[in-house]
């Protein structure tokens, strides 16, 4: 179960300011159990892995394997029953602005009574900025996401792909050090998904943010990730973690057709199938 786990690069007890050598996220022997006694249900068990700073890590696994729960632990929305989750060396004890999370159900994560720009401005609201400054910054982010045309519209007037871009814009506006994505493109049609994958990969590269990306789509994980962690279910545990060495920038047709891509795909496919049984 521990094969393929990256050796921790954490530098021990020596106090120091956060450096790239400190993992952006680290799980040490994390487990989650609901209920107790006969009714105890183990959701996650013995999860140990690190995410190095500025890396793009994808987590895949069959539905119900606990991959979303893993992400929610990083966000501070779920507390593990054993083990410890840490970000940049500090234990996670609750939600923080430093860790933005993009939810799959974009329709529910946006405020329907606020315009698009005002939804993005939510990220600035605890910062004490003047409303005009919030507006300028929101529009700057919207321009980067090519959303400035719809700034004055309401989320309900946008397509699914646009709404998800608004949510991503809000999360990036938050200027997080760690960006958590929970199957963000899962509810979108194939074409929109591919467009957003490329846009997002480029934004992440520009912003230099660490990403933990949960998906059930094997190809999406390989296409986007520097590293793919595969989970097995009952209880949720790490089955395998592999590094994806594909060159960047990646390209929808060429990258996916490459021999390396296919090899990764075959390997992870068999792995997941094996654990499915």
């Amino acid at each position: 179960m521990t094969n393929g786990i990256r050796a921790s690069s954490r530098s021990g007890e020596i106090p120091q300011s956060p450096t790239p050598s400190r993992p952006a996220a680290s799980f040490s022997n994390v487990g989650l159990t609901y209920g107790s006694g006969d009714q105890a249900r183990v959701i996650l068990h013995g999860i140990t892995f690190d995410v190095a700073e500025k890396r793009f890590v994808c987590i895949i696994g069959p539905s119900g394997c606990g991959k979303t729960t893993l992400l929610r632990m990083l966000a501070g929305l779920v507390t593990p029953t054993i083990g410890q989750v840490a970000c940049f060396g500090d234990p996670v004890s609750g939600p923080s602005r430093q860790r933005a999370i993009v939810f799959q159900d974009y329709g529910k994560a946006l405020l329907p009574w606020r315009t698009v720009w005002s939804n993005v401005a939510l990220a600035f609201e605890s910062g004490g900025l003047a409303r005009s400054e919030q507006r300028d910054r929101s529009y700057a982010m919207l321009r980067r996401m090519r959303l400035e045309q719809v700034g004055e519209l309401y989320p309900g007037q946008l397509s699914g792909g646009m709404q998800q871009r608004v949510q991503i814009a809000r999360c990036l506006a938050q200027e997080p050090r760690l960006l958590l994505m929970d199957e963000p493109f899962g509810a979108l049609d194939a074409l929109t998904r591919q467009t957003l994958q490329d846009e997002f990969a480029q934004l992440v590269a520009e912003q230099g943010v660490t990403v933990v990306f949960v998906t059930h789509d094997l190809e999406e994980a390989i296409y986007l990730g520097d590293r793919v962690i595969a989970l097995a279910s009952d209880p949720g545990r790490i089955a395998e973690a592999i590094d994806i060495g594909l060159a960047r920038p990646r390209e929808q047709l060429a990258t996916r057709a490459s021999e390396d891509f296919q090899a990764h795909r075959r390997r992870l496919f068999h792995l997941l199938q094996e654990h499915e049984r």
Partner: protein, 247 residues
């Protein structure tokens, strides 16, 4: 306008029948009056200024009571909605108070406040706070959990979370509670005036009854009906103007 005309058809027809029956001596005019004498009684009341001052008194206490009920109901409702444990502790006590008819508190309120505005307002609050409270709790519980999580991840303060997420997300439903409460408030105001408070439309009714002025009594009842309709329209209008639309 066409709808108004269609809606006015039945009441106007009934008034006409009533008038005709009264003039032909088919009904005892001494106890049920007729529209023409009600009309002249109403005109007299209006000229004396009694109608206006009584209406203002009643509406004033109704609005005041409703305002307190909204503040109390929304505040307690949000606390109960956000913190189910608080409701677990305080809720049962309130559940015991709720089924008591509000008018049953009139004697107690009279001892505490004496005659006047405070007496009436207190009973109105006791009666109209419930729909607002119940609807607010349900509305807060019904807020999309994702939105609450967004507020937590952005580390918004409790006050800011109330302002940016909780209140806008629940406003439309709370508005429904307020509309129900507004109807209750007016009914209770007039009830308290009829039962013992010497002010407002209800008191004028009791005075007319004691003087056996049936036409005045009828004029007041019909006028109260009109006031009620106008009051509900006003509340609906304020709600439409002020509460954000959640589409």
């Amino acid at each position: 306008m066409k709808n108004v005309a269609r809606g006015a058809l039945v009441p106007l027809g009934l008034l006409l029948l009533w008038e005709v029956a009264g003039r032909l001596g088919m009904i005892p005019v001494d106890s049920v009056s007729m529209p023409s004498s009600m009309w002249s009684a109403g005109a007299t009341l209006l000229r004396d200024g009694v109608l206006l001052s009584a209406t203002v008194q009643t509406l004033h206490t109704t609005l005041q009571g409703l305002a307190f009920a909204i503040l109390l109901g929304v505040a307690v409702g949000i606390v109960f909605g956000l913190f189910p444990r608080v409701q677990g502790v305080v809720g049962p006590t309130l559940e015991v108070l709720r089924p008591v008819p509000p008018v049953a508190f009139i004697p107690l309120a009279l001892l505490i406040f004496g005659f006047g505005v405070a007496l009436e307002v207190s009973i109105i609050v006791l009666a109209s706070v419930w729909p607002i409270l119940i609807v607010t709790v349900a509305a807060v519980r019904g807020i999309e959990p994702r939105l609450i999580e967004v507020g937590r991840v952005l580390e918004l303060s409790l006050v800011r979370r109330l302002k940016t997420i909780v209140l806008p997300a629940t406003a439309a439903r709370i508005g429904v509670g307020i509309r129900i409460a507004a109807g209750v408030a007016l009914v209770v105001a007039i009830t308290v005036e009829i039962v013992l408070n010497p002010r407002g439309l209800g008191y004028e009714m009791i005075v007319a009854q004691q003087k056996l002025q049936v036409d005045i009594l009828f004029a007041l009842i019909l006028w109260t009906g009109c006031v009620g309709v106008l009051f509900n329209l006003l509340v609906a209008q304020v709600e439409r103007r002020w509460l954000p639309r959640v589409s």
